[in-house]
Subunit: 470 residues, 2 copies
């Protein structure tokens, strides 16, 4: 038969000068099945934990209007935005974070949404910066947010600590779910207004507070000399620079007596009333051992207003595993009502590195879906022809069924293939209307009729296959 000519656009193989087409773009990842099994392991844990804490899943668009980010995020994030151009449309941006989308969605329906609003999302985020350890250009981030008051008539500053503690509690439960402990990870907690009070006492003027926050946030990245230089640029003399550095070094375990912290920071009780209320809540939830007060934590984004926190591997070898805080003014900024809000984001990249280092990532093999049954022909009669019918009937019955595509008649080799994909059973199609069902864990065998196979297998599987669902 004559073949038609190649259709338009269907051209010759990629030449050397197009070698970049053979791999994913810089900082982006390909997820082969083993990589995907690990990714799903983490995503499933995020979803499972958020759900049992009463958060409901949402999603937003992959790109938003660029203005959404330029008007309220810190400058750092704006320079790292991938911009999309399309004729006639307002300028668009691949989302670098989720909070502006969340604020926009809540503002749009604040009048009808029951409160408090407890939402989570597992979006992809994008950063147009040089990829490095722990930072890629595309990453997956778990976002967990508590918006609105936890308690209708509770309008004092202490009341919001219930929400703060729920959000932090959800984060800690995830870490625990994946096998991490308070010996491996610590939640470092501070408070923007407490930090502001400390900065003022060092000598930072009110108009320089924002810059001082940004400097504290960069402290560990830029080194002591550059820190001193930039602190001097904020108008501080050398004694003040030392005191500023001292603020960043205030660290007290949250399970230490409260007085130890109060003395370390030396501010009045009224200033730290929210941190005190948070301590009470974390204590009731049994979470104090995971937490410490750390005045060096301020978060880079401009919209935080109260409690801020980050989760770190204790050796400090990696970037933050997660970070978040209170952003009480943001919903209003999108023309919504005044609503308090607290949330965090946790990316997959640093989390995976920490899990790997502590040998807490199961082998991908163990995470891949297990077939209920692997079907092979016996080599007799028309067994080959029966395989497709049997496999189709097993799958229609909800069973995870695979088959061999090999032409060998060597049953030993075929059973090895079944074992290699971790199938629970092998079904050997005899071709005479019967099937030999072999339990690959115990070696037990029995004979069933072809027509009874789906029922026989369903009762052995005892359930819908969980494959791919966890």
């Amino acid at each position: 038969m004559q073949r038609p000519p190649p259709p338009p656009g269907y051209t010759t193989p990629i030449m050397a000068d197009k070698a970049h087409l053979l791999q994913a773009p810089k900082g982006m990842r390909d997820f082969y099945p083993a990589d995907m099994a690990v990714r799903r392991h983490i995503e499933s844990a995020w979803r499972r934990v958020a759900t049992r804490h009463g958060f409901e899943e949402i999603e937003g668009p992959t790109f938003e209007h660029l203005d959404l980010y330029t008007r309220k995020s810190g400058e750092a994030i704006v320079s790292e935005i991938f911009r999309i151009q399309h004729r006639g449309d307002a300028e668009l941006a691949l989302r670098p974070e989720f909070t502006p989308t969340l604020a926009r969605m809540i503002a749009a329906r604040a009048a009808t949404l029951p409160q408090p609003i407890k939402w989570f999302a597992i979006p992809l985020h994008y950063r147009a910066e040089r990829p490095q350890r722990g930072r890629l250009r595309e990453h997956i981030q778990w976002n967990v947010d508590f918006v609105g008051r936890p308690g209708a008539s509770d309008d004092d500053r202490r009341g919001l600590a219930v929400a703060d503690a729920e959000v932090i509690g959800c984060m800690i439960d995830l870490l625990r779910e994946l096998g991490l402990t308070e010996q491996i990870v610590r939640i470092k907690i501070s408070h923007r207004e407490v930090a502001a009070s400390l900065l003022r006492s060092v000598g930072v003027t009110d108009d320089r507070l924002g810059d001082a926050f940004a400097l504290l946030d960069r402290r560990d990245k830029i080194g002591p000399d550059e820190f001193a230089k930039q602190a001097t640029a904020l108008g501080l003399d050398s004694a003040q620079v030392v005191r500023l550095d001292g603020v960043a070094q205030i660290r007290v375990g949250a399970d230490q007596p409260w007085d130890a912290f109060r003395e370390a920071i030396g501010v009045d009780d009224e200033t730290i009333v929210e941190l005190r209320a948070l301590r009470d809540q974390l204590d009731r939830a049994g979470l104090l051992a995971w937490c410490e007060w750390d005045m060096g934590i301020v978060r880079g984004l401009a919209y935080y207003t109260g409690i801020v926190f980050e989760a770190y591997e204790v050796t400090g070898a990696e970037r933050a595993i997660a970070g978040g805080g209170r952003y009480d003014g943001l919903i209003e900024l999108f023309n919504g009502p005044s609503m308090p809000a607290c949330g965090f984001g946790m990316g997959d990249v640093v989390l995976s590195l920490v899990l790997q280092e502590h040998d807490l990532l199961p082998d991908a093999d163990q995470l891949m879906p297990r077939p209920d049954v692997f079907v092979v022909p016996s080599g007799k009669d028309d067994a080959d022809q029966r395989v497709i019918s049997l496999v189709a009937s097993l799958r229609s019955a909800g069973l995870h069924a695979r088959r061999t595509y090999r032409t060998t008649r060597n049953i030993g080799k075929l059973l090895k293939e079944a074992a290699a994909c971790r199938a629970r059973y092998a079904a050997i199609v005899e071709g005479d209307g019967s099937v030999t069902l072999k339990n690959l864990a115990t070696g037990e065998q029995e004979t069933v009729k072809e027509t009874d196979l789906p029922t026989a297998m369903a009762s052995r599987a005892g359930r819908r296959p969980d494959a791919g669902e966890s």
Copy 2:
């Protein structure tokens, strides 16, 4: 306490001239919890069905090098690409489809990947065109692909029908899983080379075959007058235009006698040997009633080489629910070995419309994760204070636990709140160390100790909560 000044970038609410910031960009979707529950319902079905058919999940980057699409897709898709600009980088594009990514990934590891390769993915895709019914700028698409030979020594043209039938079988099983039947949806199947043979017999010259395919693909969208005009531009006279239109109208149920189809298309047996082999496979899998031969189906993309197919709601009221085919040359184009390949994509938008029309989408309420237990204080003693500890211990035990945030002491109102979120049990914290556990389906009540609550609930839940996991 004095509040610090607003940090930089933290500005006044959005004004009327920035009203576009209050909604998602054109053609993009916000998924509130109820929308997300429906999305997860569909994604879970995709994942469950692909897995039980032995396909393994993969993913690729959201954007690729622009060249990846310009060198091999049809022209239609290239004009609809969102381009990303970033200093110094090669030009990037939000992926309009998944097949080029898949081909690139397979080519990169063809030497080590066990064959045949059976993969699926659930990526997002982007189209920079005017949004309309069934077509948005961002949509979710299930991709299922079978790459390599199903049978090592089987190198004749009939052998690939095993792969074609597996891919089509997986698609049909998904439709069935969501409640669709062969009365509602039909899989229309054709073959690029058979279609080419028919077009030649009508009078289309070899150099115009690609254009003629594209015209057939647009036939239903452009109307008969425009069709005739464009067919004339291909060099056909008016009698030939009528015959071309006749080709597009050849439709025979696959469960009709084979001779009916053979006579309808009037080509020799050798030309249709692959379609015949596919019929045998579909017959064995019990799928013929879902399928029909339809010579009007050619698919818009340039890389298809053999079998092509689309799934349609039978009334024809909607766009294609899914479409795919054989693309045997594509892996080679990425410097990979010569490997046969067959796959399809199914988007969420048209599928959801068809499910809705046939009342097959459960209410979002029914799809939302159900709490195992809803915790409320009795109003006595320090019950309020005990709630946070109990809820934390329930969640740590893997239970989906929610609580009231209301300050009312009216137990009736609180139990209504528990029922409203479809909790299975309400736990009324008495404040004296005991909890009243109420089954909200039966109304049965019993008293358990606070410390026993997680164990008592875990045995009642009988399993890890499935919430959010399906």
